[in-house]
Amino acid sequence: MKASTIKMLQSKKEQIIELWMENQMEDPTLREDLMSNEDLRVQSIELIDTLLHTLNEGNSTQVESQDFEPVFEILAGISLSRARQGYTPRETATFIFSLKDAIFSVLGENISDLSLLNQELLEVSKLIDSLGIVTFETFIQGREEVILRQTDEIAEISTPIIRVWDGIIALPIIGTLDSARTQIVMENLLVEIVNSESSIAILDISGVPAVDSLVAQHLIKTVSATRLMGAECIISGIRPEIAQTIVHLGIDLSSIITKATLASALRQAFTMLQLEVTKVRKDKKV
């Protein structure tokens, strides 16, 4: 880009900002609920300031150059925060691409040499496209962070421990039992055995989609740890197809008490605690 063009753009900064803001406000999908117009203006000004400050005759076609790092940094910050706040990709892309229109108008008004105008438009277009790509990459990265955080949260909340009876706790496991999950399950279980002074823990795996050798190893470890605490562990919810698969795989669960249903595990636990459930007979009063 010609030094004179850059200088002209710098002198028209206010106009570019006004045009850009107008473009953004015109968008019917603008999320005023997520960000006030004032904040939007602050973000826009910061970006334009840095961009016009960075641009010079030598670097305008070299977006990969170090010069543009501050611009990318601001842009990354903006799109990360937008991703976290729940903006859609379209809204975030519109933010940066509507800047193109604003700069195009100013170039068109101020450059009369058509071949020069043509060349400058092309360069600005390429530049903003690169900025758009960075915006998109960081936006996705922001979304991935949100997903990872939610994964952690799901791991935490999906391992509730239920006190089913004095001395008996139950832990329904839902979802895939990977190494990180197992760690959480095991810790929660051991702490709860102590807190509730329980001697029997029932681990229900009805909600676990597949039991492969890694999951089996995790289950065996959890049972061993429970026994070290002086408690017994029953594994329930082993569906018929899972039982068959475990056998073919060659996993030996014979040292573990396993039951098909939570109900039969509970019955077993009552027996172990020498408890009996009986039906109350209502004698008819005369």
């Binding site: 994964t151 895939t176 990977d178 989609p209 597949a210 039991v211 492969d212 050798s213 890694l214 089996a216 190893q217 018929p240 197809e241 899972i242 068959q244 698969t245 073919h248 795989l249 060659g250 996993i251």
Partner: protein, 136 residues
């Protein structure tokens, strides 16, 4: 044998295990595979993809719906460019593991599948191909 449908999945992180298993389950359901065979197929898939992640830092899985005569099935090809396996006979033995795990992934998966073949050499990566027939 003819291929009716094919799908490719790149594997490079733990979360891909669940994605792959679900994709395989979709295809198995589509050809009407029963619950027991589906569970065997998915468990074997889980073993092989975990090996791929653990010993070779990931790789690629090809999912194919195949047909031979009147029988339909799912063929999976797991290929990685990891270190490869020096002694295949040992690796196929129950209980052999260099990763301090149960050592049942390869031999167990062979038992769960209808067909199983493995190709591997040190420095050349590992390719495991399995087929589970709908009624196999």
């Amino acid at each position: 044998m003819i291929t009716l449908n094919r799908d490719r999945l790149l594997i490079h992180k733990d979360q891909d295990v669940v994605i792959l298993r679900n994709r395989v389950k979709e295809y198995a359901t589509k050809i009407g595979m029963g619950l027991v065979n589906q569970t065997k197929l998915i468990t074997g898939t889980s073993e092989l993809v975990r090996n791929m992640l653990r010993y070779a830092q990931g790789g690629e899985v090809l999912i194919e719906v195949v047909s031979r005569g009147r029988e339909n099935g799912i063929r999976l090809t797991f290929s990685d460019r990891g270190p490869g396996i020096a002694d295949l006979d040992k690796a196929m033995q129950d209980g052999f593991s260099t990763g301090r795990s149960l050592g049942l992934g390869l031999p167990g998966t062979k038992r769960l599948m209808s067909e199983f073949s493995i190709k591997s050499a040190p420095g050349e990566g590992t390719t495991v191909t399995v087929i589970k027939w709908k009624n196999g």
